[in-house]
């Protein structure tokens, strides 16, 4: 469309490949390659093995995987509930209040995750809510961190929603609760699942706040990857990282299947 001559097009594509492949494709390939190797001193990894994966799918690592999945599931469901509620409530407010509320719920994006971790640590290491040392403090911090993203994507979807639908429903005699349950939420379902997927992925990869909060019996996968690399076990770390990516992708794939079934247009 933009470049018409054949030669120029090939030149553009070459530049694209030269930029894109080393920057984006290579890192993932490197991790994948390393996870299957024992040495990497030449151009290619050597000493093919699946031993890292055997280690990465049992014992400590398996427990970390369960921990991560449960944390991400809990955090994303909570965040989706609170974020959607906030977005729906904000949509019913006057413009001034709405922008205040939107700003409040965007704030956790702008606050560093490390600081969110620190603040949760400071606040809930003391009564009345003593959560430090339990798994709940990790789930809580993750929820706080991802709620902002859930709120943002749901409220963008609400803005795009044609008010003609809810007005048609109201003219047919549906009360606001009925309109919400039977019209607005079903119409928002594709966006809700997208937001849930986003929250889940963010929580699966969360490291900063987790590093400050995790109790010994609730170690999520990213912490395990860090622990492995920190003690120099880069190849094991890569295998755990691949497990992390695969688990995230599997869940995202399942969520997107739900989404395809829920999109009507």
């Amino acid at each position: 469309m933009l470049v018409h001559s054949r030669g120029a097009r090939w030149a553009v594509w070459t530049v694209f490949a030269v930029l894109f492949l080393p920057l984006f494709a290579l890192p993932l390939l490197v991790i994948l390659g390393a996870s299957l190797a024992t040495h990497w001193s030449g151009v290619l990894p050597s000493g093919a093995t699946v031993a890292h994966y055997r280690a990465a799918t049992r014992g400590e690592a398996l427990q970390a995987l369960t921990t991560s999945l449960l944390t991400a599931l809990g955090a994303s469901l909570l965040a989706l509930t609170v974020g959607t509620w906030a977005a729906l409530a904000a949509a019913g407010l006057r413009k001034r209040y709405r922008s205040i509320m939107d700003a409040l719920f965007v704030l956790p994006v702008a606050v560093p995750s490390v600081v969110v971790g620190l603040s949760v640590l400071v606040a809930f290491s003391q009564p009345p809510l003593l959560l430090n040392g339990t798994r709940w403090i990790v789930i809580l911090a993750h929820t706080v961190l991802v709620t902002a993203f859930a709120h943002q994507s749901v409220s963008a979807a609400i803005t795009r929603l044609d008010p003609a639908y809810e007005q048609a429903a109201a003219s047919l005699g549906a009360r606001p609760a009925h309109v919400l349950w039977r019209v607005r939420l079903p119409l928002l379902l594709p966006s809700l699942t997208a937001a849930a997927g986003l929250c889940f992925a963010l929580s699966m990869g969360e490291l900063s706040a987790t590093m400050m909060l995790y109790p010994p019996d609730w170690t999520p996968l990213p912490v395990l990857v860090y622990a492995a690399t920190d003690r120099g076990a880069l190849f094991t770390g890569s295998a755990v990282a691949v497990v992390l990516m695969a688990a995230t992708l599997l869940v995202l794939f399942a969520v997107s299947r739900v989404r395809t079934r829920a999109s009507y247009r």
Binding site: Q167, A168, S171, L172, A174, R182, L187, Y264
Partner: protein, 351 residues
């Protein structure tokens, strides 16, 4: 059930300087089809939305069947509404769409099934009950939207430009369908918003012409067409030649010519606007002659439209297809019968 708007004023953004609706008084009798006709931004849709309850008047009252509903939310008003975009729920099948209003009212299940079937039958959509809206054509979606509004058996049906999303051929078919529905449901009052005078003239028992947030005139199609009361109505309903004239005795003078028209007792010497429909203007010799120069000629198949400049004013004439039409710049003579002209108060704004 009748509809009454009692000096309803609507202001958006609480700004009283830009009224969307300026103290509208309008009564729709039970079983009557009232068309709200006007250009975009004339306030006709606002009036309909005030009846539906989606805009709240700053002042005035809305009454349905004699009951003041001004403070009632839309879902308590029991009206049926069809909008331009249809707003069919994309996640529900056709029958679920039609059943929506009944479910919202917690109607008994057996009753719902029967009434949905009835509404789909009435609109000819029974064969499509299990489909989703996205699998239907525009005309079919339109029918489902009407069936959905009728299923709750409203006493009042509001139609907001229901045909404007359809192409011309479908539109005339749907117009006939709507007329049939009205015959089958003689007790339902309809408020029909449109900018298309053909729809209004075809369907309505009475037409309310709106412009600039105000009601300009209201009457039967025949009244508005044959004897419009103001220049805006004359030009918007059916199109009209409007020229400034001076009233004399037993006629008016325009462009140096004395024209014989009924003056209805307007004092001699007063300024007035003369209104003649283009299809009532003839070419050639006759009573009430006007001489002018052809400025433009359009062939419309069955007719020719001439734009003739008479003393600086353009006069339109629709004549039967001409064998040898005049060309640009030809001098021509036009005429019209005295009782085909209407004399309006002097205010030439749309000429």
């Amino acid at each position: 059930m009748g509809i009454r708007l009692d000096s309803v004023t609507v202001a958006y953004d609480g700004n009283v300087d830009t009224l969307a609706l300026d103290s509208l008084d309008l009564t729709v009798e039970p079983g009557e089809v009232m068309a709200l006709l006007g250009p975009s931004g004339s306030g006709k849709t606002t009036a309909l939305r005030a009846v539906a309850g989606f805009v709240r008047p700053v002042s005035g009252r809305v009454l349905l069947g004699g009951r003041d509903v001004t403070d009632l939310p839309p879902y308590r008003r029991g009206i049926g509404m069809v909008v331009q975009s249809y707003a069919l729920f994309p996640h529900l099948r056709v029958d679920e769409n039609v059943a929506f209003g009944l479910r919202a009212r917690k109607t008994a299940r057996s009753e719902i099934r029967q009434r949905v079937a009835e509404a789909l039958e009435m609109t000819g959509m029974a064969a499509y009950a299990r489909r989703h809206p996205r699998e239907l054509s525009g005309g079919q979606q339109q029918r489902v939207a009407i069936a959905r509004a009728l299923a709750i058996r409203p006493d009042v049906l509001l139609l907001d430009e229901p045909l404007s999303a359809l192409d011309a051929r479908l539109r005339s078919g749907m117009l006939a369908e709507l007329a049939r529905l009205h015959r089958e449901l003689p007790d339902v009052s309809m408020l029909y918003v449109t900018h298309d005078q053909v729809e209004a003239l075809t369907l309505a028992d009475r037409i309310a012409v709106m412009d600039k947030a105000r009601l300009q005139s209201c009457g039967t199609p025949r009244e508005l067409y044959r004897s419009p009361a103001d220049a805006f109505t004359a030009s918007f309903v059916g199109g009209a030649n409007l020229v400034p004239v001076t009233v004399g005795t037993g006629g008016v003078s325009f462009a140096g010519a004395e024209l014989k028209v009924g003056t209805n007792g307007v004092a001699a010497g007063a300024r007035a606007t003369l209104c003649v429909r283009p299809h009532l203007v003839g070419l050639g010799q006759g009573p009430n002659q006007l001489a002018g120069v052809v400025r433009e000629i359009q062939w419309r198949g069955a007719t020719h439209r001439l734009y003739v400049e008479v003393d600086g004013h353009t006069v339109m004439a629709d004549v039967r297809e001409l064998k040898a039409p005049p060309v640009h710049g030809d001098p021509v003579t036009l005429h019209f019968m005295p009782d085909d002209a209407v004399l309006l108060p002097a205010e030439v704004s749309h000429g």
